[in-house]
Each structure stands twice: as structure tokens, then as C-alpha cells.
């Protein structure tokens, strides 16, 4: 019998009502990496929004301990973009593209070596906002940094403005290295 799966579902949430944020807490430290997958994530209560995240140990860190560098392209623009934001209070799964009530995010966020207590934490995000509105749709790649050596056992995701709609699905996977 196997000792444990290498790639397994830790938790999954499909919203049944409009929700301001989604939090995964008491995450086991037994994995090597975590992957958070967004499926059909849409917005309510605002015209458009980026998607933020915060992480922490016990409770999420709300201090200015995040930074990120992004690269991507938006459907409306013929020029790809690159930018960064330093010393900020949240990380991003997308920034220049936006979700709306009809345009959904389909993203993967990789929390690398999330439970170690030695290094700052890097979170790679690969985000796709579905076609439907050229002003908001597109693709982005982001490398986030959380400047803490604490293990991550709590992840909170939330739109910059507004709330997630019912039907938005968030699934957290754990990957275990040999």
C-alpha cells in the first residue's frame, strides 16, 4: 500500500453564496509544496477586480511584508507588460487583468516549500482571465515574495474590491517530494 499520495487534494471550496474572502487554515505542514487552483472565479459587487492573497502562520500576515513582479498581456493591448510592487500588504494572483461578474479567473498558485522555517516564501502564480472582455481578459505570470521565515499554514484569497460570486471554486492541493 502507498505511504501517501504525492499529489493530493487538501481542501476544496465551491461557494454557495457571495463571499468576501476564502481562507484555508490549519494547513498540514507535511507536504513540500501547495498548489491553489481557481476555477470559474467571478466577481460580485464591483465592476472589476484583481485577486489578492495573504498568508501566515495561525493568522494571515497583514503587514507590508509582500512584494511581487508580474509579466503578462491583456487582450485589449498589443504590448505585453511588466511591473513590480514592493513592500505591500498582499500578494497577487493577477493584477493587470481583472475578474468581473462575467469574466472568470482560472489560475494556479504554487506555494513553494511553504512549511520550511528557514527561507522567505516564493509563490509563483500563473493566471488566466477568460476571454469575454478585452479590457480585462488576458494572461499573467507573477512571482510573489512573502518576507517571513514562518511556515505557511493559512492562506486567504480575496478580490481587491467586491466579493467572489456563488459557484467560484478554490481547490488546494499538496505535493510531497521524496
Amino acid at each position: 500500500m502507498p505511504a501517501g499520495l504525492t499529489y493530493e487534494t487538501v481542501a476544496t471550496t465551491t461557494l454557495t453564496t457571495t463571499t468576501a474572502s476564502v481562507t484555508f487554515s490549519t494547513i498540514s505542514g507535511s507536504y513540500t509544496d501547495l498548489i491553489l487552483v481557481f476555477a470559474d472565479v467571478k466577481l460580485s459587487g464591483a465592476a472589476d477586480s484583481a485577486i489578492n492573497f495573504q498568508v501566515g502562520n495561525g493568522s494571515v500576515d497583514t503587514g507590508s511584508n509582500y512584494s511581487f513582479t508580474i509579466m503578462g498581456a491583456r487582450s485589449a493591448s498589443g504590448t505585453p507588460f511588466s511591473n513590480r510592487l514592493d513592500t505591500t500588504t498582499q500578494g497577487r494572483s493577477n493584477w493587470y487583468t481583472s475578474i468581473t461578474s462575467s469574466v472568470a479567473a482560472m489560475s494556479q498558485m504554487h506555494f513553494m516549500d511553504y512549511s520550511n522555517t528557514t527561507t522567505f516564501k516564493s509563490i509563483l502564480a500563473n493566471s488566466r482571465v477568460q476571454p469575454g472582455d478585452a479590457n480585462y481578459s488576458g494572461t499573467e505570470t507573477i512571482v510573489n515574495l512573502w518576507r517571513s521565515t514562518s511556515a505557511i499554514n493559512t492562506i486567504k484569497v480575496y478580490p481587491n474590491v467586491g466579493s467572489f460570486t456563488s459557484g467560484s471554486t478554490f481547490t488546494l492541493y499538496g505535493i510531497t517530494a521524496a
Binding site: D113, N144, R147, A177
Partner: protein
Amino acid sequence: MAIRSLKNGTFSRSLLIGNTAYDPPDFESIATVSVGSGGAANVEFTSIPSTFAHLQIRAIIQTNRGTYTVDEFNLQVNGVTSANYSRHELLSSAMSNDTPYSQGSGSETKMANIPTISGVKANYFGAAIIDILDYANTNKYKTLRYLGGADSNGDTVGLHNVLGLGSGALYVNTNAITSIKMYPQNGTQFNQYSRFALYGVK
């Protein structure tokens, strides 16, 4: 061993009828290298089995490059060190409101050149996810794709490649990939706590 009950026809892959059948995972850990206190000039996975469809490397990386925060690391396969790779990347610098740029060519000595970070800033590590597709197929040239980079919270000293999306290919032969070697571009070693994990995908 598969077992079928003669009494009720229940099929099970376990030796105990009624138990949940064992379903072999499609994503398996093959090997992991965690760099120790002495550092490592390179990290190499050898004797890679040909039983999977694809490979994935997931890594956190820091090199010992001095002065500059940014560095890169390179990837070669099967001991090929000559200019028999093709490689192209889309890269971002850490400059605000910049435009991504590309690099690479059809004659490279590395299959991938992936942005990462040095130990100039303590505790900062880069991250990379590398997919090598159909690595054991002997009827085609091998190709990979990667996503990798590091954020240094605004350090712009000598800054260039910090985030990249890339692809690479080996054109010298169609041999199955049995070894993968990674090493720093500018530093002389990977620092302690760097970790490289190889997975097989079925």
C-alpha cells in the same frame, strides 16, 4: 494482484475484498536533492526511469553569486554540453512599468536558463517549475517549458532577468532523457536550503 470474489463477483485490486482498491498515483516523486551546508556546484538527477510520460522539476534556488541579487541557473540533459539546444525565453526585469523582452536562439549550450536569486539578500530564494514533455519517447526531439523567477522587493542593483517563461529543445538526437543537470549561471554553487524535486507524471 487482482482478485474477483466467486461469491458475488466483486472485483478488487487489494488482497482483501471490500477494501478500497489501490489506484496507483499518476504523479510520483522520483528523487529530491536538498543542498546542504557546503553548497553544491551542481545538482544532477541520473538514471531517470523511462516509465513515466512526462517529468516535472519543482525547485527553490539560491546561488552564491556575489554583489548582484539576481542570478540564473542552467539546465542540460544527457550530458550534452555542446550548442545543440534551442531555447527561447520571455523575460521581465524588475523595473517598474517595463516591457518584457525575449532572448535565446537555435544554437545554445543550455536547454534552459532560468532566473533566480543570489544570497546577497539573506533568506531570499527563487522558485522554478520545469516540465519536460514526453522525455522517454525515442521518436522525437525533447522539449521543455518553465516558469521561474524571484522577487527581491525592489532591489535593482544590476537587475535584469527576474521572471521568465521559457521553452527549450534538444536537437542532437532523439534519445530518451536519462539525466538532468542544473548549475548556476554566475555563481559557483547553489546555496544551502536550495531544493530540487523531480516528479514523474503518467
